[in-house]
Structure formats: C-alpha cells, structure tokens
C-alpha cells in the first residue's frame, strides 16, 4: 500500500516539475520577446469587403436637377405623346460612390407593348415606328476619355439634327458596351427616343392607344484586372 502511494507521489511531483519548467520557459521567452520588440499602437489593420455603390440619376431636357432612379421611377415624361418629329431626351448620370472601380453596362429592354390600330384599320406596333439612341463615352467618336461630362453630352444632342444622327436605330432591346468607372468618377449619358418625321398615317392610331413599356437598367460588376 505504501509502495503504491509512493508511486503516485512520484508521478505528481514529476508532473508539477514539468509544468514549472514549461511555465518558466514561456515566461522567459515572452519576456525576451517583449524586451526586443516594439509596436506602434496607432496602426490599425482593418480588413473590409469591397463596397459597391452605384448611383444612377436622371433628368429631362427642361429640368436642372438630377433625381436618383429606383425600380419605381419613371424617367420618361408621362404626358409625352409621340407624333412625327417628336423627340425626347433623357440625361443619365452614373456615379461610383463605392470603394472599388467597377465595370458597368447599360441596357434598354422592351418589357411589354400594346398594339394599336391605325386609321386604315391595320394593327401596328408603336416601337416599329420609333428610333432611339444611347450616347455614351464609347459612342462619342470625338472623345478619347472613358467618361463624358454633362456639357459634352448636351452638346452631342443639343440640336435636332444631332439628335437625329444619334437616334438612328429602331427601338428594341439593346445592350451597350462594357465601360469602366473609377472610384468617385461620374459619367453622363443621353437616351434619345424619337418618332421620325416621315412617319405616315400608318402609325396614326384609332381606338386603343398603342404603348411601349421600356425598361432601363445600369449594372455594375467587379472590374477584373
């Protein structure tokens, strides 16, 4: 019985000795490490995810201030009625409020449309008699910059003849080329929708008013270097 007790005491003493040695080693190492190193307490290393913040706002020709766009915003004039020669221009402002540069792309999509009946009794779709165009930095042949200022965009569509040149393609689903926008940068675009002057009575409706429901979206994605 005494032998067993002696064995137990030996084990306990050995364990305590080992613990003391480990503690002494740790203290000595930590003390020497602290003595021979220095850290500036003011340096902060914070790891954050990249922040994407795209702001798109619009204004009509007659307006001055830009209004932010959301899913419920109607950027075209509700009271506008298209007839031969009628042109509507909407200026778009795209701003990078985030912390990383991104690539963005503008899309114009026909969500739905209502056919009409013209004065000759024939069905027609209004979008077939409309032309549109999107003025961006890429479409401006005279500009080598990746962004356009507000004055530059206005100068491109200020006159009726210039707007006609810009809005030359039929109104249909359209995707612009991918452009890049740096942190804090702003670019301006102009969306032109017009009915050509030579549109005849084939688009002069009777009865149900033809309508086109247009969707405009600007999508920003991470820039790949």
């Amino acid at each position: 019985m005494q032998k067993i007790k002696k064995k137990a005491y030996k084990k306990i003493a050995l364990a305590l000795s080992l613990c003391a040695i480990l503690a002494w080693t740790a203290l000595g190492t930590s003390a020497s490490l602290a003595w021979f190193s220095d850290a500036s307490p003011e340096v902060k290393n914070i790891i954050n995810f990249a922040e994407f913040d795209l702001e798109v706002s619009y204004r009509l020709e007659d307006e001055v201030t830009y209004v932010p766009i959301d899913s419920q915003t109607d950027i075209f004039d509700d009271e506008a009625l298209y007839e031969p020669g009628y042109t509507q221009i909407v200026y778009l402002k795209v701003k990078n409020n985030g912390t990383v540069p991104f690539n963005y792309q503008t899309a114009v999509i026909i969500n739905s449309f209502t056919s009409g009946t013209n004065v000759f009794g024939q069905r027609f779709n209004l979008q077939e008699h409309l032309k549109f165009g999107l003025v961006t930095a890429e479409t401006d042949k005279n500009s080598t910059n990746s962004t356009l200022t507000e004055k530059e965009v206005e100068a491109l569509v200020a006159k009726r003849e210039l707007a006609k040149e810009v809005a030359a393609q039929p109104l249909n689903t359209y995707h612009s080329s991918i452009s890049s926008l740096g942190v804090g940068e702003t670019t301006y675009m102009a969306l032109v929708v017009r009915m050509p002057e030579d549109t005849g009575n084939v688009a002069n409706y009777r009865g149900t008013q033809p309508e086109v429901n247009l969707g405009i979206s600007v999508t920003a994605t991470q820039m790949q270097d």
């Binding site: 995810f49 795209l54 959301d70 000759f120 009726r160 030579d198 002069n204 409706y205």
Partner: protein, 358 residues
C-alpha cells in the same frame, strides 16, 4: 420512411454486419450534392455582393393621334351648308358644284391629341393635291381653324384627308415669298381645276406633261438609283398600309414600277429631299419637318399634271396616272394603263376585303 432509411442510409454498428455498397454510394452522392450546393451558393453570394444594378422598369411611351373635322358652307348670301360625308376617321368628302364658291373650315377634332397636322385636299379628276396649313402648332403660333374658299371648274367629289406630321410644302411656306401654290393658308382662295369628260381637254395637259417628264428625266438620270431606292422605301411603308384609303401610297408603288416615269419619281423624291433639308435647317421643333411617305405619293402625283383618272372608283388609280404622264412610250403606257388599272382594282378590292374581314 424507415424502410428507405434502412435501404439507403443504415450503417450497422461495429460487429453487426458489413456496410452495404448501396449505402456507401448513397452517402457519397449526398455529400457531393451538398458540396455542389455550397459552391453554387458561395459563388452566387460573391457575385451578388460584388455587383450592383439600378433599373427603371416602368417607362411608358405612348402615341398621339390626329383627327380633323371639316365643315363646308356655301359662301353666298344664303350660306347653305354642304353635306360632308365622313368616310372614316380621317377622310371627309363633299360634292361641290361648278360656279359656286365654297367656304371650307377645318379644325382639329376634340379627340385629337397630336400637336400638329394638316389636311390633304384632293378631288376626282383633279391632278393637283393641296396641303393645308398646319393645324395646331405652326412654328410659334397655334392655328385652331383654317378657313379658305374653294371653287371647282367642274362638279366633283372633293376629299379632305387628315394627316399628322408636317406638310412637305411647309418648307416652301416658311421661306417667305416662295409659297407653293399647292399650299393653302388661312383665307386663301383656291380654284381646283377639274377635268371634264371630253378627251380633247386633256391634250394640252399631256403636252405639258411631256415637257415636264423630259425635264425631270434629263435632270435626274444620275440620281435614279438613290431616288428609286428612297421611293421604294416610301412605297414599302405605304404598302404596309394597303387599303383603298391608301391609294396614294399604292400610286407611288406602281409609279416606281414603271420605268418611264422614273424621272418624275426622281424629281418628286429630290424635291422631297430638298424639302427635308430645308426643313431640317429650321429651328421649329415639330413643324419644320417633312413626311417622305407623303412626299413620294403627293409630289409624284403633283408632277403628273396630265394624268387622268379613268377609274370609276372614288379614288384615282395609280396606273392611270403613271401611264398618262409618260411621253416616250405613250402607246405602250396606254395599253399598260388598262392592265395596271385592272391589277390595281383587283388589288384594291382584295385589300378592302381583308380590312373588312379584320
């Protein structure tokens, strides 16, 4: 459920049997599916986190329409009203008699939503088509009513066709002192020359047309391709609206197909192009433009001064006008006149039937 579990997922405890192959495969498959789902979720989350979309989805674009009302009264002491028949939503007709002066009043209808438009005034057996002044917005003015006085050299059916947009003669009108005789402004007095039924009365007109066609043919030979192309474009637009009410459009189509009148088509197209250029230089927002479809149709008929309409229909046929305006192949055109008239009549009846069935 217990059976399914035992079949595909049960792993016996140590010493109570081997793990079946089916169970192993099932567990491996489930693990792989979960891995794929996790990878997909992570990818989608990362993409969503690093992309942003701003959209405006409900932008409605609507169309306007133009309707004009017509009232006619005899301009004399009795001031009797002439019956005006409304053929459809844009066409009014009235029978006017010789040796009487009629006061015509045009105004936009109440249901009209377009800002501007005009009326085309034409008559049976009359070669000229008149365009009225703009109803509605006309430059800086707003014209609510146009009143003019109309006389005819023979009793005839006069048609008033409402058309939206801007007249192709507007450019001439805006150039002060260069007003086109076919452009009717407020308070104008217009005399429509209506051909009688005697053939002899047509001969001088044919000679006149001969001269015109030669001039246009000689001058416009170099522009034949482009002009034909442009008129074909216009005729394509006009063919899309193929009803009897669109006779002017069909006229331009058949005129294009006749080679002998290419010059006249060219002239009309060049004139319309010039009008477009002049109109484009104007600072008016909506009124200084031209309608090329109407140019192709109306100017073409205007150049065919000697063309006669032998059709018994209310509207003149294109083939008769095109055939009679030629000079080089007058005999051939006379023969083709009948054929074209037949074709056009057949086509027009088919179009009428189609529209009625629609």
């Amino acid at each position: 459920m217990k059976e399914l579990y035992n079949e595909f997922f049960y792993v016996p405890k140590h010493g109570y049997g081997k793990v079946r192959e089916k169970v192993m495969l099932t567990r491996i498959t489930v693990a792989i599916v979960f891995i794929i789902i996790c990878i997909a979720t992570m990818s989608i989350t990362a993409y969503a986190y690093f992309s942003c979309t701003v959209s405006s989805e409900y932008n409605s674009i609507k169309s306007a329409n133009f309707v004009a009302d017509v009232s006619i009264s005899i301009h004399d002491d009795s001031n009797n009203a002439v019956e005006v028949t409304k053929i459809d939503s844009i066409t009014h007709t009235a029978k006017l008699e010789i040796d009487k002066k009629y006061k015509v009043v045009l105004m936009p209808a109440e249901e009209n939503t377009a800002t501007t438009g005009f009326c085309v005034v034409s008559a049976e057996k009359c070669d000229k088509k008149y365009h009225t002044q703009q109803l509605g917005v006309d430059g800086d003015e707003i014209i609510d009513t146009i009143t003019f006085y109309l006389t005819v050299t023979n009793t005839t059916q006069v048609e008033f066709l409402a058309h939206w947009g801007t007249s192709s003669h507007y450019a001439d009108y805006t150039n002060k002192g260069n007003k086109n005789e076919l452009y009717i402004t407020d308070k104008d007095e217009v005399e429509m020359t209506v051909r009688g039924e005697n053939a002899s009365a047509d001969e001088p007109k044919e000679d006149k047309t001969t001269i015109n066609s030669l001039e246009t043919t000689e001058n416009s030979s170099t522009d034949a391709v482009s002009s034909t192309t442009s008129t074909k474009t216009d005729s394509t637009q006009s063919e899309a609206a193929s009803t009897d009410k669109n006779t002017e459009s069909t006229m331009s189509t058949s005129v294009n197909s006749t080679s002998s009148v290419k010059g006249q088509d060219t002239k009309s197209t060049v004139a319309s192009t010039e009008n477009k250029e002049e109109a484009a230089s104007s600072e008016n927002t909506e009124s200084a433009t031209t309608t090329s479809v109407d140019n192709a149709s109306f100017d073409t008929t205007e150049s065919n001064e000697s063309s006669t309409s032998s059709s018994e229909d209310t509207y003149t046929t294109a083939s008769s006008q095109s055939a009679e305006s030629t000079t080089i192949d007058s005999v051939n055109n006379t023969s083709s006149k009948t054929e074209d008239a037949e074709l056009t009549d057949a086509e027009s009846t088919e179009m009428i039937e189609q529209t009625l069935s629609n």
